[in-house]
């Protein structure tokens, strides 16, 4: 551990919803106009979706889940587990997944809870839900992953504001004795927990009137205590150090090489960062899809959103070998090697809100 395999679980379908409103980073006037092209080229985010005030993570995930259940012709009464990976839950208490159990009309026999993870969350979520299904004999389950990250980024914070986009996704999983095993490699390093964090609002530092004071942190960076604090250089450094070895050791443990994988779907962190990791691992650009240009960094939704944006055709027809890798906030990182077989991919929903 933490390298392990899970057998008999198949991904049956993937769906996603993004807010309709598209923001173009060329119009981000907190950064001088002449600097915007280099910023956009470096982070790789041309446009991104921003949720309307009042739109929550569960609205996007609900929309994605409803569409997926309908596309698969699943009976809701058969869904026995619902996990939501999010760091922007509707309330501090309770878990938002439980709200969705009711809103989606899932039976009370369905277990539901949240996982508080971001960039690495989809891979972790897959491991948790698949383990539960395999050990508990759960036949059908939904993994939801999404965030409305734009909500707690300060407009006058050039290190965070232009990066994030909002999205909610749903992945349907089924117990299937024909499914190939999934192989996971999961890691954590809490010494870096302040590299991406929201300082106020938890019980360590509860919200008070100071939490709303805007402070100048560095050149071009203002924020309050309840907004996201992102140390881009630390995260960049961590990702260059840890991701490639994690992927390599996972491949080696299965006696596989880069060539055995059809597509590497990585968390859409920042284009320069992903490109540097891709070159380190010597992966062909054709096998390394991106959604960051259109949708930005969408936190735990980025891997399923990238699959839908770039690989819908490929994974809905026959078998595909994928390596998924998430890395970031925590610090937390993980990869999974899996084979998909005829996955139902729905069109990305433009959510009105």
């Amino acid at each position: 551990m933490p390298q392990f395999s899970i057998k008999n679980i198949a991904i049956k379908g993937i769906s996603a919803a993004v807010p309709k409103f598209e923001y173009n980073n060329m119009s981000y006037d907190w950064v001088p106009e002449k600097e915007r092209p280099l910023m956009i080229k470096t982070i790789g985010v041309e446009t991104r979706r921003i949720a309307a005030k009042g739109t929550a993570t569960t609205d996007l995930c609900f929309s994605a889940a409803e569409k997926l259940i309908n596309s698969l012709n699943w009976e809701k009464s058969e869904i026995q587990a619902l996990i939501l990976v999010t760091q922007t839950s509707d309330y501090q208490i309770p878990s938002s997944a439980i709200i969705l159990q009711d809103r989606l009309n899932l039976p009370k026999s369905c277990m539901a809870f949240d996982i508080n993870l971001g960039c690495s969350g989809y891979v972790y979520g897959l491991s948790v839900i698949s383990s539960l299904m395999a050990s508990g004999g759960i036949k059908k389950a939904l993994l939801l992953a999404g965030d409305v990250s734009t909500l707690n980024a300060n407009y006058r914070d050039k290190s965070a504001y232009p990066l994030f986009g909002d999205a909610g996704t749903a992945t349907a999983l089924e117990l299937d004795s024909n499914a190939e095993p999934m192989f996971f490699n999961l890691n954590s390093d809490g010494s870096g927990h302040k590299a991406i964090y929201v300082p106020h609002g938890g019980m360590r530092r509860f919200v008070d009137k100071d939490s709303f004071e805007e402070e100048l942190i560095a050149d071009g960076i203002y924020r309050t205590g309840i907004q996201i604090a992102l140390n881009g250089l630390e995260v960049f450094n961590f990702s260059l150090r840890e991701v490639a070895p994690n992927v390599q050791s996972l491949l080696q443990s299965q006696e596989k090489t880069i060539d055995d994988v059809d597509y590497f779907v990585f968390h859409q962190a920042n284009r320069l960062m992903n490109e540097t990791i891709r070159k380190k691992l010597k992966i062909d650009p054709e096998k390394f899809p991106y959604s960051i240009g259109k949708y930005g960094n969408t936190s735990s939704a980025s891997i399923p959103l990238t699959i839908l944006h770039c690989l819908s055709k490929e994974i809905s027809n026959g078998k595909t070998n994928l390596l998924l890798s998430g890395f970031g906030v925590g610090l937390s990182w993980g990869s999974v090697l899996l084979q998909t077989n005829n996955v139902v991919c729905t069109e990305i929903i433009d959510y009105n809100g």
């Binding site: 290190s159 960049f236 260059l240």
Partner: protein
Amino acid sequence: MKAEDFILKIEDEFEDLEKGKLKPESNFREFFDWNSINALIFIALVDSEYDVTITPDDIRNSETIMDLFNTIIAKKSS
């Protein structure tokens, strides 16, 4: 490994840089109108070209291109 090659790689990466102006003794913060985006590009360039990862501290503790290059050499040989 030479500092001159490092400079050529930097000139390749930053396309609008006038060739031949950057010297080993140049203070990169003054030369580049330094910001965090440039720092990211430097870290990425060094990683791709030399297969070593320089840290934000390494950059903080360097003034000239030669300082950075010496850090790369030190990391390469350790």
